[in-house]
Structures are given as C-alpha cells and as structure tokens.
Amino acid sequence: MLTYAVLAIGLSNSAVDSPSESRDTVRATSESVELADTLMGSWKTADPAMKKTNGSPTQGIGIESLARLGIKSMDEALKTVTGMTVQDYGGIGGMKTVSVRGMGAQHTSVFYDGISMADLQSGMADIELNNFVNKKYFFVTYIGKEDISTSAKQILSSSTVEMLTEVPRFEKFDRNGKIQPFNLAFQASYRSFQTISPELLWEQKIGEKVILSADFSYLCSKGNYPFEVANGSATERLLREGSEVSKGRGEINLWADLDEDGYFEMKLLGDLSRRNLPGPAILYTQNPTESTSDRKILASLAYHKSLNEDLKLRTSASWNYCWTNYTDSSKLYRIPLNDYYKQNMASISATASYTPVYSLELALAQDLDAGHLRTTLEDCPFPVRLQSTTALSAKYWNGEMCLIGSLAGLWQKDFVQSGAERKPLWRLSPALSMSWELPRGFALRAAVRDGFRAPTFNDLYWARIGNRNLRPEKAFQSNIGLSWGQFRSTHTLSITADVFCNLVKDKIVATPTLFVWSMQNIGKALMAGCDVNANADWKLTPDLRLVAHAGYSYMYAVDITDPEAANYLDQIRYTPRHSCNAQFSLDSRWITFSTLVNAVGRRWYGNQNIQSLMLKPYCDLGVSLSHEFQLRQTRLMLSAEGLNLIGTNYEIIRSYPMPGRQFRITMRISY
C-alpha cells in the first residue's frame, strides 16, 4: 500500500510514536491511513498508541467508511455517531446543528482543520454549510480533548467535532512509469427533489516540497419534497414549499515543507449560498416568506515546527468572515424585512509541547481571539469581543496506563457602543482523564471535566431579549468506560461501553419577563446514561470483507431546575432517551453493498413529557450500492443510494417534517 504523499515529500515530522497527535498520526503513517476508519468505535484501533490515550471516549469516521456507506455530507456522517444528536430543520439546505450527549449545540465545538466554525452570534456551527468532498475525516470527542498539543480552544471545549482534510496522495503512474504529480476528480450526483451537485477536485504536487489542492462544488435544489401531516383521522399530503437552495463553495489548501523540521498549511475557503427558508409546516397554511443569503470566507495559515526532538511548536492564524442577509417579505411587516449581519473573527494560536522523557508530555497553549458583530437591527450595540484562552496540559503514559490532566482558562471582554458593558468573564476549566490497558484486550478509562460555555452575542445583546448580566453556563462531565478489542490479521472485533453523567448548571434559557422573553441563568439539567458500541471487520475471503457496527445510547437527560415544577425530572426536549444506529457493509471485488440504520426513540418538543407534546419514534434506513471501474488511467465510480427508505416524514424539530424516501445516484471520474 502506498503511503501518503506527505511521507514522500518529508512532511512526516510528527512523532508517530507520540500517542497524542491524532491528526499528525493520521497523516504520517501508512497504518494511520486506516486510523480514522478503525476508530469507528472509540477503541477499535490497531494502533496501540491510540489505545493508550483514549481516556475519554472518541469516535471517528474515515474516508473509507464514508465511501463504503455512501455518505455525502457532514450531517449524514455525524448521524452515525452514537450519542450524537443532529438537530435538523429539514429540507435540503436547512440548518443543522449538533449536540453531544444532550449537552446542547453551544457545548459542542465544531472545528474544521483546527479552525472553530461556531459564529459569535449564536455560538453554534451550522454543519450544513460544510460541503463534503469525500476527503475528510471526522472525529467526535465526548469530553475535552486527548491531543494536548492542540489549540487552547479545543482543550477548553466540552465536546468537539473535528473535520480534518486528508493530505493528497499521489499514487498513480503516468505512461512513462513515473508518479503522476496531479490528481483530477469530477463528481456529480443527482438526488430526489431536483437536487444536483457537481464537484471538481484538483490536486497538484509542485516540486518536491509543496502540495496544492483545490476543490469547487455547487449544489442546487428545488427541495419541494412531499410530506404527510396526520390530522384527526385524515392524512394530508402536501409539498414543502419555499425550500429552494443554491450554493457554491471553493476551497484551496496548500501544504509546504519549507524546512527540515517544519511545514506550513494554508487554507482559503469561500462559500456563497442562497436559501429560501420554508419555516415550520403550519396546519392549513403554507406561506414561506423568509430567505437568507450567506457569504463566508475562511483563511488560515498554520506552521508546525520541531525545534528539537523534545520540543515542538504549533502556530496558526485564521480569519473567519460571515455575512448574512436575512429577508422576510411577510405582509406582517409594513416594509419587508431586510437585515444584514456581518461577523469578523480573527484568531492566533500557539502551542508548545515538550517531552522531557519518553513517558511525559507537557503542553502550553495560548489562543488570542478578536471578533465583532455588526447588524442593521435596531438596538444593535455592535459588540466587539476580545478573548484569551490559555491551557496547560500534561500527559503521562507508562506501559498500560495513561494519565492526562489539563487546566484551561478563559478571559473574555466585550466592548459595546451602547448600553452597559458586561463585566469581563474569567473562568478556569480543569479536566482529568485516565486509561488502563488490562489483560486479554480489555481496557478501562475514566474522565472528569468541569467546563462551561460563555454566553453568546445573541444571549447577551439580542434586542429586548439579551441580558448582559448572564453568567457562563457550567457543565460538569464525567465518564467511565470499559472496552475490549481483538485485532487479528483476518478480523478486528471490539466492544466499548461507557457510562456518563453530566450536570449543567446556570443553564441559559429564554424566560418570559414583563411580556417579552429574556435570557436568564435559571436552568439546571442532568444527563446520565450509557453508550455501547460494537464493531466487527472481517476479511471473509481475499475478495470479500464484512464491516459492521452497532451503537446504542441511553440518555436520561432531565430538567432538575425546580422540584415544584410540572416538568421536574422530565426528559429535556428534543433529547431521545433511547437511540441506536447500525451499519453493515459487504465489500467485494464486484460491488460494495451497505445499509445504514438510525433509530431514535420518542422525544418531547415541550418541556413536559405528556402525550400531546410527544414526537414519535422514527427509524431512518439507507442502502447504498457502489462499484469502481478501472479504465486505464481513469477510475470511474458509480453509486446508487436509497435514503430514508421507510419513507416516514419524521420530525426532529416539531413542525419541520423531514424528506421521505429519496434516491441519489453519483458518478465520480478520477484521473
């Protein structure tokens, strides 16, 4: 098997034997190419170093799994992760956010190649905006961060979802028998509801030191899917109106190995989209009047340097610009609403990691962030935020045991042009995780973390609703897990079970005050439960491979704010108590067949667990068939997928019915 091109051009300066650097490990070794795939279950890995480090549970999805399962977008990928809730407002271009173990989307940080994707305004990342070009790895970490040589913001995060871009590999030979210095791929897919999505990828090796990749994608969809509404004994069949979406994205990545012990990474991403928003499906009337136009630019530059064998430096600078135009032509407004929002976020980050002895790693990370929000809304105080995040971490590993401790601190100061200024926020967040390898393939792990999330600009400054006296929302997390794994040349088996308990205090919730709503620190919530994952990867014959995964999550996520309240100890809204997912794929030389099932139990869209506020359980079943043809220098991949084959218009969010049965065909030509 050919290794990554990074090896060929000498970017492999990361310590392969270091258990900490999941990203660099992925890049650096041929074994690690499979790493993300093998991380499908948090302990299902052939890499013993990774086994040592996982004090807190992690799940990953690699390129191979994504291809095998026919997954084409980030939300589809994350729906396969146990304990993950993807809040989906329906439709092809609808907003999608993620939440880990019921903690809420603002406690779940989404990073794209190390850059935070959350905006200052809502504190959430819309994962729909991240187009997927079949070249990504996904890692979900449930508590804190294992890789201590990462940025301070990542160490401070309660839970993280990371999307990592694969460094291009140049595996093909030209007619002269030399390695071809470029890759070209064109992919086009057609999906139900008039959804067309062409993508183009160009990867170029420039000399021996530089790799460039550029991809461009476009998606347009009418999105007018049929849906059914049960009303009394009748069922109305309607078309989702006002769901049109068109968006284009371009991304350029560059990796440069300019000196012996260091390398650069550069990224430039532009995203343009226009989406009509269908809004909730209201009984007896469909009158969508809202739309948004978005422009996003993201630029980053990172430099990784090994100063000597023991000391490594990782620095980065990034700029994230978001521009949104929201319009509403509803006749409720005398003049149609036409609001503009503009956010600029700049960040610099530096992390030094030092390994004084083989079994000990120390890291100090410092991030500085500045951002501002400008809107055309009345009463906007045009907030500017300065933020400093510092994290001091240590990792000790000794044979079968690994211990990681970190202390992260946040200082945050907002400046506003009108109204009272908020007091500076200063808070520490300690975390500790341990893992032990036991005999016979067993391993035990435990982690605790005392985290928080800072109030967002919406929480603090939204007209009439915002409250500048908000405190951070505190989150205490704990996890104990047991795993078993068997790794053979013919098969890999693993089972993991984790029990967790999270306590959220000073929850920031909208509360009615004097006829309007205001944000207050009044909520308390408790999430306790378990995640169980089982994985099997079996090479049945040289040409036939079976890969299976099953995951189950039990989540007792309840409100404990007020013992007198009618909803005391009731399940938090939109959080299922039971959910499970399963994937099964059969990979042969003729065809790859896979099925993907995601089943979610009943949930409640209100705070009280009563029948009238219940959302029905649902099961989403998908099937994928694909085959790759080799035509001389060209590879042709054809795939066909059936999505939500059961066809129910289930609701993840009340009044936002999901599309029913859909089909997608994809063709990819690689040269």
Binding site: I282, Y284, L514
Partner: protein, 343 residues
C-alpha cells in the same frame, strides 16, 4: 461540589429507575357541575392550539379535535360567542372557525386580502356581525354565512371594540421597530378608517365598559412601561395614573374593568395581581395578588378567570368570585390558556 456529586449519584440511580414520569396537573376538586370552554394558545408554530370543554374538577368532556376530527391549528388567539355558537380565531393557521354550541364547525373563514392570507387575531361581535382584526393591518367583517369584507387599519392590529357605529382598533405595530402608538377609528357604515387616534406606545388590548373604552398600551418592554388609558365619547385619551403595569384586560360583570398585572421575583417567577377599576373612582381595587404564573384574564357572569401558564407545561384556569375569593382551579388541558367561557 459535594452537592453536585450527591445530585449526580441520586440521578444515576434515578435514571435507571424511572422509565417515564407522567404527572397530573394538581387541581382542586370542587363539588359543582360547572363546565367551561377553554381556549389554549398552544406553542407558537407547533400546531397545538386546543379548545376543550372541561368540568370544574378538571375532567375533559370533549374538545374541538374530537368533535371535528381535525386539529384546531396553530396559536388559538380568541373565542367569542357568535350566532348561537362560537367564533374562534386561530392566528398561525390563518383561520376563523364558526361553530355551533357543540363545537361542530359550520364555516371556516380564511381571510385574504388580494392573494395574501391573513392572520386573524381578536374578535368582537356586533349583533349578527363578527369583526376580526387581521394582523397584517386590516379588520375583517364576517357574516354568519362565512362571507367577509376587509378594510385597512394601522399596523399589526391586536384588539378592537365597537362603540356606536365605530370600531376602535388597537394598532400595536408589534412587527415594527419601535412599535406603533395609534388606535384606528373605523366608520362601520362606510367600513373605512376615518381617524387615527395617537395615544401611546404599543396598544394591544381594548375593552368597552358602558361608553368608556379602556386601552392597554404595553410600552416598549424597556423604559416605556405599560399603562391603561380611558377614552371617552369625545375620543380623548386619559391615562389612568394609578396603574402600575397592565398585562391583560377583561370586562367584569359588575361594570368594572379588570386589570391583570404581572410581577417577577428574583428567580423570575411570575406573580399576578388582579385589580378592578370603575370610571370615576380614584383608586383601583386590588382583588387578589400573588398568583404564581398568572398568564391571562377573562371574565364571566359574577366571576373572573385567571389563566395559569409557565409557557411550557399544561396550564390551568383559576376561577375567582368577582370580589376576589378563589373558587377552584382546574386543568386547561393545553398550553398557555387564553380564555375561559362558562357553559
């Protein structure tokens, strides 16, 4: 920290002990055969407005969905007795239902102006004619046969009353930045606005007691506080200075105007006070105070009803004698109870 750990330990045990925890709304059990029609708004955009016939001991007799085999829709805003039955305005679903006494629908009015569907807000009856405000900036005159006609008023009208041959419409401007401050005076013969009375910020409720119109202005929810005005036959508005807030109005059967005032404690719990006021009096009379989660006020013969809601769990209706004595409380069988009518 110790307290947190204790809670966590207990919760872990509890999490594996409970499968479902259904709690009944506590009610007083009165010895009475009283029955009520209760309209609940439901949650916005959730299609869960309810209209239920409920006994005074909290039992559900029947409801709109059962009688008609379809749901009421989104955001039940108002109900009045009309043409021997009821008229119900459902704002989100943009419908006015005309029903008989048993809640069976005989006409559905879906008001439109040109191509645009409109959102009925509040209702008032004048003889055989029903008037509805349409939140897009109109009022609508609806006949018992379901036919209707519309005319322009100010922005986002909330409530209206009929005095003589004129309708007075509170134009809140709820969707305008900075709100609106006018009351439209509509000549019902010509069916057009003849005057716009400039009064105060965010007029949302309007009631008629004798010849006096009472108008609640909600302010801007910041530095401009809510207050109540009286408007005499000369159309001059006079601020009733004694009011320390106003969150809902209702006309009591003794000829006074009832005012619900909400206050919030340090933990943001709502405490409601009901006062009534008679034209010419110097002071309002406080009938009851300290009602937790008071949400709405409506009135019946010799009684008034306080809707109880925490916005997220099943609401209740508390029934009070006109002198403020509590009679009983029963489940509203829905979220955010807006109005009760004794049957």
């Amino acid at each position: 920290m110790r307290k947190s750990l204790s809670i966590i330990t207990l919760a872990i045990i509890a999490s594996f002990s409970f499968t479902s925890c259904h709690k009944e709304v506590p009610t007083d059990i009165p010895d009475t055969s009283d029955r009520f029609l209760v309209l609940c708004e439901g949650s916005m955009k959730a299609n869960n407005a309810t209209l239920s016939i409920v006994t005074a001991n909290g039992n559900l007799v029947t409801d709109f969905a059962t009688v008609n085999d379809y749901a009421l829709g989104d955001t039940g805003q108002d109900i009045v007795e009309f043409n021997g039955g009821y008229a119900i305005a459902v704002t989100g679903s943009q419908r006015v239902y005309l029903t008989d006494k048993d809640l069976k629908v005989y006409h559905i009015v879906e008001p439109r102006v040109g191509e645009d569907a409109c959102s009925p807000r509040n209702l008032v009856v004048d003889g055989n004619t029903l008037y509805a405000t349409l939140y897009e900036g109109y009022i609508c005159r609806i006949n018992p046969d379901g036919s209707y006609r519309t005319t322009d008023v100010g922005p986002n009208p909330e409530a209206l009353v009929i005095r003589g041959n004129f309708a007075y419409v509170a134009n809140s401007g709820g969707y305008l930045p900075g709100f609106n401050d006018t009351v439209s005076k509509v000549d019902l013969e010509k069916f057009e606005q003849v005057e716009e009375l400039k009064i105060d910020l965010n007029p949302i409720n309007i009631e008629l007691v004798g010849d006096i119109i009472y108008l609640q202005c909600a302010g801007n929810y910041a530095d401009v506080k809510p207050c109540v005005y009286s408007i005499g036959l000369d159309d001059k508005a006079v601020k009733i200075e004694y009011t320390d807030g106003a969150d809902d109005l209702a006309v009591f059967s003794d000829g006074t105007i009832g005012i619900l005032v909400k206050e919030y404690d340090a933990t943001w719990k709502v405490s409601g006070t009901v006062r009534n006021y008679k034209a010419g009096d110097e002071m309002a009379n406080t009938l009851m105070t300290g009602k937790v989660n008071a949400y709405s006020l409506s009135a019946g013969d010799g009684v008034y009803y306080v809707g109880i809601s925490d916005y997220s769990t099943t609401g209740e209706i508390s029934v009070y004698e006109i002198n403020g004595d509590h009679k009983y409380t029963f489940s509203a069988h829905g979220l955010n109870p807006r109005k009760a009518i004794a049957l």
